[in-house]
Symmetry: C2
Subunit: 443 residues, 2 copies
């Protein structure tokens, strides 16, 4: 058979196996359901995250993985406290708010101040220096729903950069419209950061209906005031760690394929979409890829710690494993909806490999895109350090930012059929990668 | 013209007026938007409800209504306090909970006890007397989504009766799966009641994702424990009142048409769907019905107070106006989605009137149903006392119980096009009723 035919036959084999429901089929669901039920939320550096690491090693061992270990590191985490917000003028309204990661705590009794409306991050940037002294900035924006999640980059800056910009202009606090696409009273948390030399200020995100209310009131032209209580704060030297496990390949001379998810979650929910499902997908797919006979290459699974507050696990992995060769790296961290596109970053010499994978996925309706694969947060550092080959299996993110970093990221959001489609697509790719004997690298 | 043709011509007239956007078209939206923005939540008996009454009289006067007055009464309200819930065994999970109206407050430090799972209200009913002593009952159920809201009756009993049944069996507290059809971390509140001789216990509702989690844990067979903090409590002698206004008809001898909504809302949101929109719809429709020339009958608008905690406004209205004749009664209190069906309760002698209304609505796709119209909560008492004629304009309730009594009942849930369809249908019916010179009564 030529490569295309071989790939198509492989797809057919894996799909027919799926129809007969082998033992791997339940694995992704069970990891997602059990991790979210038996552990629940597992914020970076917390005791819950530590319990999750123990849970993970036991589960991976039960599934037959080898060389299971925890690689510890410490992080500066964010410990949430009481959080409330009340619009006090011109009309009293209780707002649904949550602190952003690395917000400073409000003083006793909360922070009461004038609320100044900015329709966009650019409008905030244009505010004169010092014009916000003693005030609280509100940053609105118009994030749109996209299938590929591409709106998160530009609009997410309202959360990542906005608070620092407000602080640098003298603001006493900052509130943003949640970075999200739903219309529920669920605020979206997420980490922010502070420019060098700028002290942290209290920073929170209100739900989108609350942001719409603030925008309506702002349009009335009446002065607005708010009381913020955000008692969470950063905490240094918290214990975290990566969980690593392997399915050993038959040829130890071939560098392993690294596949990653993250084990930590935000504290507001059980982190089903973000990212228990990712751990379920990659783990189930590794097992399934191995079902057709032992792979030549080792598949190394990385369940990274402390991704949400700054990709600490990915950095720790890259540092600890800098001296080891890797074959390629992939990550699943965008929910559990269907894979619709594949992107590559492979060397010119790997074009036949790329074509085999593209041909294997085409019958599943997964199209090969022309962009350069980036890999994702937790494999980013090792990819950059070693110029690794990368394959992105892009998930449908249409509803991802409805739940992202909110109390709503719970098991009921997982569609078992789409979850399983992820496992199948990943398994096909891992089978091809795992049997590849030639060198694999990025472009 | 015969009656059918006259009705069809009237529909065409009103619809064409809608297309040219007369001043009434904005009325329903403006009432809904301004009441929810300038007042916000307005729980029964609260200072916010009192502010809403003042707001209402000013708005109704500005719209040209006459005989505007507030008819005060007092109620036993429910004042919410701190509320949290933590599943403490076998796995720690923070739950999203809200107290039910008339819940008893938990003791200092909260109430910690074993949590006993009941899949249905019937399962709770079957529990032996005394078997719940010192424990907290959890009542699950499987409320379904229906267009006509008919599932609210039977499944709503888990909230209305369930806590009282649990208390009568010795339970120290009770938690229910929210009566709702969404899958968000928004608990649904609502009033419960206690049987004669049974003392109130702490009673709350968790969001549906939390209920699913509890059900999953219950299936594991591991004993469950919970800590409840529900500090809200009943408060007697709170001031409430009805707002009444009229568009006087040309013939004072003809009894008025009574149309109702309720002004109060639950405290968790701004009460856009429930029931600011209803007040917007009936008020805009009355104005529009009058635009074709003064009606013969007076249209009396009732914005009732304290509906949510026991239909106090409807009872007060029936008592205060027992001696006055009424022509017919109608109510809008089921959101703001499109009207799809009309039901009647009219005397045999009113069959021509019924047929005219049915014929006028048929071109709009509003079908005449064969059930007996009931009128709704706030007009229920006066209808029963006087055997009034009733017309129900039934709204599409498919998504009503996604938002009902949750923090999510906010302005963004209102679809302006469907809101306006309500106004048009109501206006057609009010025009026909308002010009009717014959006696109108129920069957």
């Amino acid at each position: 058979m030529n490569n295309t035919l071989r790939a198509a036959a492989l797809s057919a084999l894996l799909l027919s196996t799926a129809a007969t429901s082998g033992p791997a089929d339940q694995v992704a669901w069970d990891i997602t359901a059990d991790l979210t039920t038996e552990i629940g939320s597992r914020p970076a550096g917390s005791a819950q995250e530590a319990k999750a690491r123990q849970w993970a090693t036991a589960r991976l061992a039960a599934l037959g993985f080898k060389n299971i270990r925890i690689e510890p590191f410490t992080v500066t985490g964010f410990v949430r406290g009481a959080e409330t917000a009340m619009l006090t003028a011109p009309y009293p309204h209780k707002l649904h708010i949550t602190a952003l990661g690395y917000s400073a705590p409000t003083p006793a009794g909360g922070l009461s101040a004038e609320l100044v409306y900015f329709p966009t991050l650019d409008a905030l940037k244009a505010a004169p220096q010092g014009s916000l002294t003693g005030k609280i900035a509100f940053i609105d924006h118009a994030m749109t729903r996209t299938q590929d999640g591409s709106a998160y980059g530009p609009f997410g800056q309202a959360r990542r950069q906005g608070p620092g910009i407000a602080a640098s202009k003298g603001a006493a606090g900052v509130v943003i419209r949640s970075i999200g696409t739903d219309m529920h009273r669920n605020p979206h948390t997420g980490a922010t950061s502070w420019p060098e030399g700028t002290a942290a200020i209290p920073a929170g995100a209100v739900s989108l209906p609350d942001a719409e209310l603030i925008a309506r009131v702002a349009r009335s032209g009446k002065p607005m005031a708010i009381n913020l209580v955000l008692e969470g704060k950063a905490q240094p030297n918290m214990p975290s760690g990566n969980v690593i496990a392997e399915l050993p390949g038959s040829d130890p001379a071939l560098p392993p394929i690294l596949i990653a998810c993250h084990l930590d979650s935000w504290d507001l929910a059980t982190g089903a979409f973000d990212d228990a499902a990712g751990c379920g997908i990659i783990t189930a797919a590794a097992l399934r890829a191995n079902e057709g006979g032992q792979l030549r290459r080792t598949i190394r699974v990385l369940w990274a710690g402390s991704e949400e507050i700054g990709v600490f696990g990915g950095a720790a992995y890259a540092k600890a494993h800098a001296g080891e060769p890797h074959g390629a790296a992939m990550e699943s961290d965008f929910g559990a909806d269907r894979i619709w596109r594949v992107q590559f970053n492979l060397a010119e010499a790997n074009k036949p490999l790329r074509d085999r994978i593209a041909a294997a996925l085409a019958p599943l309706g997964v199209a090969a895109g022309g962009d350069k694969a980036s890999g994702g947060a937790d494999v980013g550092a090792i990819i950059a350090a070693q110029k690794l080959g990368v394959i992105d299996l892009e998930q449908d993110g249409t509803r991802y930012f409805d739940f992202h970093h909110t109390p709503d990221d719970t098991l009921d959001k997982i569609d078992p059929a789409q979850l399983q489609q992820n496992v199948m697509v990943w398994a096909i790719v891992l089978r091809i990668l795992g049997m590849e004997t030639g060198a694999i690298s990025g472009s």
